[in-house]
């Protein structure tokens, strides 16, 4: 009986801490965790290069992982790695991302980071996953993809924090 009660309590807490999928507002700020050791992803002046917004082909990524700042903390967003001191956060405005005809889709609790309810993806319209509420870019023909020029524009709108 005691075990059953404990399980019920845990289930309740776990479910309560899960954030349901929601629409991301233009005013929302997005945080992208970027490796900051060495001088690969950032220039000497501290600005992000487009490399910080490159999809990882071996992981089969179709969108760029970010956290919605409103749903997390800077510490949480940075600490999702084993060595947070080596990473920094790039802050991006959702409005800037959408101005490039890209979607911002809330994707809470992904398999690779199940405790992260703030997780979202910057993703081209054709690659959106089921349940994504953003239709940005649906009117573009040909569709806008994460090409080098688009990633360069993303990088120019990113602010290292």
């Amino acid at each position: 009986m005691r075990v059953r009660t404990a399980r019920t309590a845990c289930w309740t807490i776990c479910m309560e801490s899960r954030i349901p999928r929601q629409a991301i507002a233009d005013a929302d700020m997005l945080l992208r965790r970027v490796y900051a050791e060495g001088d690969n992803y950032f220039r000497e002046d501290g600005t992000a290069t487009p490399l910080a917004f490159r999809l990882r082909k071996d992981k089969g990524e179709s969108g760029l992982s970010v956290d919605v700042e409103r749903l997390t903390t800077l510490e949480r967003a940075k600490k999702a790695t084993t060595d947070p001191g080596k990473y920094c956060l790039c802050r991006l405005a959702t409005a800037h991302v959408r101005s490039l005809a890209l979607c911002v889709c809330h994707d809470p609790h992904p398999a690779e980071d199940p405790e992260n309810g703030a997780h979202a993806q910057i993703i081209p319209f054709p690659d959106r996953f089921d349940g994504c509420l953003d239709m940005t870019g649906s009117d573009k023909q040909p569709p806008v993809m994460l090409s080098n020029s688009v990633r360069d524009r993303l990088a120019k709108g990113a602010l290292k924090t």
């Binding site: 490399l51 071996d58 080098n148 360069d152």
Partner: protein
């Protein structure tokens, strides 16, 4: 390995060759055959590499030390062929008077080389022996070319043509 090689100083005429550098190749062929065939030091002395170019070549060379997962997020290390290709191109461009302002390794094993010309002209090249080389030309907020790496296009752009 001779120290000159580790710094990226060419030791053979072939190091200078590329589809666009026939003129340079011709000059070097004459010079190598007449005075500097026996020693890499002689070759170095005959064709001094500027400090700036030497620094950037050393930056490329340094990426050879990157191991798999060097960014803790699954990044692929650049292949030897990619490093070799990038060094050759940067040498060619350096002899033409264009020194990169940033060099970095990317998450998919690519090498990112960025050039800034006077005015608002910039160029970004992604070298990858495995996936092909890509070029992005930038002029202010515009992207006049985005596609496969074309050395002629890059040089014309940097020359302001």
């Amino acid at each position: 390995m001779p120290p000159s090689l580790s710094l990226g100083i060419p030791t053979q005429v072939d190091d200078y060759t590329s589809v666009w550098s026939d003129k340079i190749k011709g000059l070097l062929t004459i010079a190598f055959s007449s005075s500097a065939t026996s020693s890499v030091i002689d070759a170095h002395l005959s064709y001094p590499v500027s400090e700036e170019l030497r620094y950037q070549l050393a930056r490329i060379e340094r990426t050879r030390a990157l191991k798999a997962d060097w960014d803790g997020m699954g990044a692929i290390a650049p292949s030897q062929a990619t490093v070799r290709m990038a060094k050759r191109a940067v040498k060619d461009l350096g002899y033409a008077g264009f020194i990169p302002n940033h060099i970095g390794a990317g998450p998919n094993g690519e090498l990112f080389i960025e050039f800034k010309a006077p005015g608002k002209r910039q160029a970004q090249v992604y070298f990858s022996a495995e996936d092909g080389n890509e070029l992005l030309l930038i002029e202010g907020d515009e992207y006049p070319y985005e596609g496969a790496y074309r050395p002629h296009r890059l040089l014309d752009h940097l020359h302001g043509k």
